[in-house]
Symmetry: C2
Subunit: 162 residues, 2 copies
């Protein structure tokens, strides 16, 4: 997905790092504490080749790091870095969308519990007013890195969300 990495858009940039097939589920498993290669391969049902590729890509992008947990032969545990931990809230928002709009049979497979003690569905909010961030309460405007071209937020053209 290098093509996305060349686009002048932070969604495309993020997708090029964490949007490859399997990657959101690898990040989910690392968050849940599934850290060892064999455990990841088994839990995901993904080929070892593909899992290796994805983990290498995530390490190159600084989202995942690894530490040996065993010598001879050396075996690694994979961990989320600060950047990796920082994508977890996005995964939870995506999970909530899946719970609502693409509910697996039987209902939501997982329930999130906040440190306040309550089960919750995450909300996306404005840090200034605390109000909800929704498609109809937000406008996208040109940022410092705005530029014309494919995959841009097309703000140069003056298009407003609608």
């Amino acid at each position: 997905m290098n093509r996305f990495g060349e686009m002048h858009c932070s969604i495309a940039q993020a997708v090029s790092v964490v949007g490859e097939p399997w990657t959101p589920l690898i990040l989910r498993d690392l968050f849940l504490g599934v850290r060892r290669f064999d455990d990841l391969a088994r839990d995901l049902g993904v080929s070892r080749n593909l899992l290796t590729q994805r983990l290498e890509r995530l390490m190159a992008a600084g989202v995942v790091s690894r530490r040996p947990y065993q010598e001879r032969p050396v075996r690694y545990e994979y961990h989320l870095t600060e950047a990796g931990l920082d994508i977890v809230p996005a995964l939870m928002v995506i999970m909530a969308w899946g719970d609502k709009w693409a509910t697996p049979p039987g209902g939501p497979p997982a329930v999130l519990v906040h440190s306040c003690g309550r089960p919750f569905t995450p909300v996306v909010a404005c840090p200034h007013c605390g109000g909800p961030v929704t498609a109809d309460t937000v406008t996208a405007t040109a940022g410092p890195g705005a530029a014309p071209g494919p995959g841009t937020w097309v703000l140069a053209g003056g298009l407003a969300p609608g």
Copy 2:
């Protein structure tokens, strides 16, 4: 990505609907008001075949709908449905992650402005206490649809996030 669609996990379900390559950028463009096939193809720099496939998949999933804006030949505009509008906050959270961790040259291409009038970076919060939702303030527990098997939240195994 039907394989993801069969997994017992709402992230996998969401990814199977809105996680295919190009799809997040198509949803972004529809949010920004780029609605016509030719405009989408041009803005994204994606092949017409692939764009057709992605739009058909999004329509089948109920995330996008279309309306004719011209007859003879008939031409369509594509719109986000209620489910599609509901994924926009997740896109904004992903964008914020990209702004921070995979910043395009020149800085963030777009700045979001909330209906309260302030430019903002979205925060993910608990609706009960208002506190931040982060990797270390949330625990995932078994939900009503929890089930063992690959791609599950592995909660049956009693693993805790860590």
